[in-house]
Symmetry: C2
């Protein structure tokens, strides 16, 4: 079964760098990947917080949160 | 050209979780991935520090460091 992953970011430099470095390596045969810009989709900030996202960029894989470096706290995006 | 990536960890619970969540998704056709346990390979701690690794687990992709969650500071592994 494919993994489900969501990459939450906010367009910040750290976010963009992580997106390029990491997402390009992911095997699309193994994972359904969605990229969500929380600055553009503010209605999804609550969803991210509910999953345990404390800062962006973050990759949530099958419900488990991987915080990747530190771009901005989630509170700054509300 | 394939990317070069090194996943540095120390066998900590956060490290093991990140390894399972993230490394399984990586496309081996796109990246040469090496996994280094810094507890077992203490001679490589200096290498990791030199690359900018401040904590484990961390994935270094083509020289760029992605710190993933926080398991242990690199100083604790020396």
């Amino acid at each position: 079964m494919k993994s489900q992953a969501v990459f939450y970011h906010a367009g910040c430099p750290v976010c963009v760098a992580a997106e390029h470095q990491l997402l390009d390596l992911i095997d699309s045969a193994k994972v359904n990947l969605e990229v969500v810009h929380l600055g553009d989709a503010k209605q999804r900030v609550a969803e991210a917080k509910g999953l345990g996202v404390k800062s962006v960029p973050a990759l949530v894989v099958d419900g488990q949160v991987l915080h990747i470096n530190f771009g901005a706290p989630i509170e700054a995006l509300q």
